[in-house]
Symmetry: C2
Subunit: 346 residues, 2 copies
DNA sequence: TTCGCCAACTAACGCGCGTTACTAACATTT
DNA sequence: AAATGTTAGTAACGCGCGTTAGTTGGCGAA
């Protein structure tokens, strides 16, 4: 039961009666090392007998690469559970990364923490070869610093960091489509509850899409119609009540997240109002449950798996030195029109 | 922009005019190495000037520990997104693990893959010091093998592996409570749709709780009332339709997962039936959206964060050699009675 | 015969660090 | 004055592996 000491190259060398160098040459299939076939076979056989597996850490030290990339999620406990597609993102990253022989290290940072971010340590200690940063703040000095130091780094959405490679969904376009969908049906008083505080890029981008759609429709931007949500279902309730309490409440609300929309919808129902007759609702993210709500939630669909996959691919290409053509990727979104936005008839 | 070579201990030694050994002693605060205060300060100052950070890989090699634990998730793309609380579990593990200076490596295995599981490589290569295995199959030969080899390992639910440490929610008790809740209101014809195929321990345990509750109530177990779900919302629809098509359909369904329940509820509504008047529904997991469904879903609440946290704690205590008292932990669940199970009145 | 060449290896260094010996200089005791 | 510490270090080995620069013995060609 005691932890067995695993065989090393040295053990193989001794057992096969050759030098460790020869073992290394055989196992790594070095072409221009003239190893005769029978020596080769003998070494391989001994390796098999000893159940040899190379020590990854030693290998990493020798090569100077950790063969590991870090995925940084900036989320509190609530957000993590909430952000239902974080699992999809993780899976997307994992698949491409492991296909190239890399491993995936996950590290959460407390968004409320100040001072040097802990993920800087990950790259300083060479524990990871590169970083994929999920849901970054709009201005994150460490990201810029690491990038300037030459650390391979890719962020999921970062408008402020012009030269840092990024892969993101087209939040602006998605939000634009959501709002335009309402305006085109004649609604002009449209509220907005964000998915997150404004220092998150996704939140800002979605709000910008909202504003742009209003502008293009000749509707003035009214700050009294905009409230901040913060990831969770609960965070949508109070803003929604505030909107309903307005002297002239909106006839539609665009909510930057399906999860936040849950709380908002709950608040609307609690007032005894009817969706979509009294007010229509549009979400964002197209989480699995959205189509099962009563009425089913109109929302903006996005591809979380691809977000992870493309982020991983971009990061790997940077690590390998073959810098990608497109340093900034924007994935398209798609509106899913459902029951919460029936034709406007007031 | 070129990747800076980071300073090593050797660099500090040269700059401070001492040997590398002395640097090591100072930085590691070795007590019985008599380093005079001014030498100590000089070394520390140089280290700061050179922005020294120890190389984690070299350190790991020297110490013979990876300072990393692996979290294995056995899930396909669909399941990963679906299993909304995987994020919570990850976060729980991460918090305890990082508090002890460890890092978290995540690795997904394809549940349909055969042959030696890829996670075996993780421990053979010494890339991780221990493994936390989420949602294991009922009988997983590699787990037993690794454990017998002395690998620190903890599983989230594994009835068949008697001597492998585990941390799990009390699925049997949860399911029992769910079913008893119905029986006590007079219902006797209760269907069951599992959360996953029967080779998953959680699925089997929940079904066992269902059967036990029936038995204790003098109700015969009827296999025609039991169907297999498989993680996703979609997987709940067909089984539900089959139940409704029975000559004598059940008056209640216990579904092993809220996600699967989504599809089932959809199927019930599609038939124009009313919940809970025509049929009552009970889920499992208490996912965030469940309370927002119409009617709100009665379900079994469980603590995903604690699942991760306690799993991590147990694993770390095994790694550190202080084997835990309780090798098998069962976390309690709690029923949340909501609208899908109104009082039975037929 | 002798020189060069090639096959078949191996010695030795480096990756960055922990750790155990061991040493040289100086101070204290007997 | 000699023996015994004590202080302030350092040399050297080990962790497991990649990799370069050799080394040896045999053989064909000049």
């Amino acid at each position: 039961m005691a932890r067995k000491r695993r065989a090393t190259m040295q053990d193989i060398a001794k057992a096969a009666g050759v030098s460790r160098t020869t073992v290394s040459f055989v196992l790594n299939e070095i072409a221009d090392a003239n190893i005769p076939e029978n020596t080769r076979q003998r070494v391989l056989q001994v390796a098999r007998d000893l159940d040899y597996t190379p020590n990854a850490i030693a290998l990493n030290l020798a090569r100077g690469k950790a063969m590991t990339v870090g995925l940084i999620v900036r989320q509190t406990a609530e957000q993590m559970s909430i952000d239902a597609f974080i699992g999809q993102v993780i899976l997307g990253v994992m698949h491409v990364v492991e296909a190239e022989g890399y491993h995936l290290l996950i590290h959460a940072v407390d968004p409320t923490a100040s001072g040097t971010q802990t993920y800087v340590e990950l790259v300083r200690t060479r524990k990871v070869d590169g970083l994929l940063i999920s849901s970054p703040l709009a201005s994150d000095p460490e990201i810029k610093m690491l990038h300037d130091e030459g650390t391979p780094i890719v962020v999921h959405g970062a408008a402020d960091l012009a030269d840092v490679p990024s892969v993101d969904v087209d939040n602006v376009q998605g939000a634009y489509a959501a709002v335009k969908h309402r305006v085109d049906l004649g609604q002009r008083r449209i509220g907005h509850i964000t998915n997150a505080p404004f220092n998150y890029t996704s939140s800002r981008d979605r709000c910008n899409g909202y504003r742009q759609a209003l502008k293009d429709s000749g509707i003035a931007y009214d700050t009294s119609l905009v409230y901040e949500g913060a990831f969770t279902d609960d965070s949508g309730a109070a803003p929604m009540r505030a909107l309903l309490d307005l002297p002239d409440p909106p006839t539609a609300v665009f909510i930057g997240s399906d999860m936040v929309a849950l709380g908002a919808v709950g608040a609307i129902h609690a007032r005894g109002l009817h969706i979509p007759n009294d007010i229509s609702v549009i979400g964002f993210d197209d989480l699995t449950f959205s189509q099962y709500l009563q009425p089913p939630l109109t929302t903006i669909h996005l591809p979380p798996y691809d977000l992870g996959r493309l982020g991983g691919e971009t990061l790997l290409s940077i690590i390998s030195g073959t810098s990608p053509d497109a340093q900034r990727l924007l994935l398209p979104t798609e509106i899913r029109v459902r029951g919460t936005t029936a034709a406007y008839s007031k």
